[in-house]
């Protein structure tokens, strides 16, 4: 690992100020993604600003929402009683990610900012537009088993690897960020972006901005939520396809529904068409299959990931069935 300067910040202001002054600096939280990438030479910041002492670790609730600090640990959030009771979808998604050890280090902000696991992105000897703009994409025409089927571009077909973010997209969370120009709020679904012509950017966070917290508005999905994650082994693996399903039921009738998928796009992939279709309908296998079919419009595979065209709709049906109690 190339050496760097290391400083600790104790307030949000200090962290932002230090980063603004450092020409080439990065925040470090749990380090589970950043240290890995630095060891592999994918990134080599000259300065690391340790933000673990910032007072952003709490999970707080008021009448209308739950707010989670950016430095809350993935393990703590997944075990938090309030989250388990009111937002079980988030707890399930977090528990399906990484390993207990990693979740004890990984933070909410770091999880949002984690980079893709595309093997060409990690291998500095290979072309990759995300790592080195203009160098080409190794995965298009290469080994692309883990890659996207929605929202791809001719520059990049990588997926965002997070489970947590899929749940937070379905739950319509809001992100609060602060930077040298003040703070702003971003709807979770707008935080990550599609690759387009600038795949080097994963999200819309501006240089120098710090994620402070994520808020989840109150909802009545707690009873009928399910996070389904399909992967190569039973645990400790990234999703091939995952589905976050949250329903609000009145008997067998779906009052409202939220659906998002992981492992299929450069950002958590919201299934808005399926949500609209299901609203007001009966929770039945037939309707779930129809919703899955609608969701697959525009899907495009790249060879090794052709199987996702079948796996994704089946996963949608399964997640909806589990969430509604049909199976």
């Amino acid at each position: 690992m190339i050496n760097f300067q290391y400083v600790r910040a104790s307030t949000v202001k200090e962290a932002i100020g230090t980063l603004a002054k450092a020409g080439d600096g990065q925040f470090i939280a749990g380090g589970t993604n950043l240290v890995d990438l630095m060891k592999r030479g994918v990134t080599a910041p000259q300065k690391l600003i340790d933000i673990n002492n910032l007072p952003l670790k709490d999970v707080k609730s008021d009448k209308t929402s739950i707010t989670i600090g950016a430095l809350a640990l993935n393990s703590d959030v997944s075990e938090n009683e309030l989250i388990i009771k009111q937002q079980p979808l988030l707890s399930m998604a977090l528990k399906s990610g990484a390993s207990p050890q990693l979740r004890n280090m990984a933070t909410v902000g770091g999880n949002m900012m984690q980079r893709t696991r595309c093997p060409y992105f990690y291998d500095t000897a290979m072309p990759c537009n995300k790592r080195k703009p203009g160098s080409g994409c190794g995965a298009i025409g290469g080994y692309n088993r883990m890659h996207a089927i929605f929202g791809t571009s001719n520059q990049c077909i990588a997926v965002h690897p997070s489970d947590m973010c899929v749940a937070l997209t379905a739950l319509e969370a809001t992100v609060t960020v602060s930077g040298p120009k003040g703070s702003r709020k971003i709807p979770f679904g707008d935080f990550h972006k599609l690759p387009g012509q600038n795949p080097e950017k994963d999200n819309i966070l501006q240089k120098g901005e710090l994620i402070e917290s994520v808020s989840i508005p109150e909802n009545d999905f707690a009873k009928n939520s399910y996070y389904l994650k399909l992967r190569d082994r039973a645990s400790y693996a990234f999703a091939l396809v995952s589905v976050a399903a949250a329903l609000s039921l009145d008997g067998q009738t779906i009052k409202a529904c939220r659906l998002a998928m992981g492992g299929v796009a450069h950002k958590p992939w919201r299934l808005s068409e399926a949500e609209k279709f299901l609203a007001g309908k009966k929770a039945s296998a037939e309707n779930f299959e129809q919703a899955a079919k609608l969701s697959m419009a525009g899907a495009k595979s790249f060879g090794y990931n052709d199987f996702k065209l079948k796996m994704a709709p089946a996963a949608i049906v399964e997640a909806l069935s589990k969430a509604s109690g049909l199976s």
Partner: protein
Amino acid sequence: MKPEDTSNEKPHRHIKHTERRDFLKKSSLLTAISLAPGSLIKAAEAELDEKFASALEQLPLSIEVNGKMQQVNVEPRVTLLDFLREQLQLTGTKKGCDHGQCGACTVHVDGKRVNSCLSLAVMHQGKKITTIEGLANGDELHPMQEAFIKHDGFQCGYCTPGQIMSAVACINEGHANSKDEIREFMSGNICRCGAYPNIVDAIADVKNGGQKA
């Protein structure tokens, strides 16, 4: 700087960073350059003398390891794993993948299990670390160590320190209530020899026997 620049020096032979700063200030940069490897010269040529000094810098760190306070200096890039193994010679903690993918490097930080390979030592200022060497009470093995022996919870033994540290935490966290739960919450520890069934038996045994934390 390339890793070769400083890493093969033994820690006690390092000039203290205050002395080094002084040295840099007093001597002309040129003298320093004549002693320095190529990459440092490049940094100096670019008039990056501030950076030059900081790249050599070791940061002071107070950290408690297995009950013993350590006052040391470390380079920022040294992982907790390398610090334990190479600077403190505590080689019980193993390096498997060095990328968070196997769990061989599992240690406890303030009682919580973490992968020491993806964590920087300097990030643990004031923390309490427990490694496999710190688990036994003198000559008396920890119940989990005894259970691994009793149930044959290993073959080659390479993953074992990580498995045991993880297993102790798994019970403390309350995640050992069934064999399925044990399997899920031990999934961060890979065993190439496939000793999994016996590892699960060992943990279930300790759990049912009531582990002393």
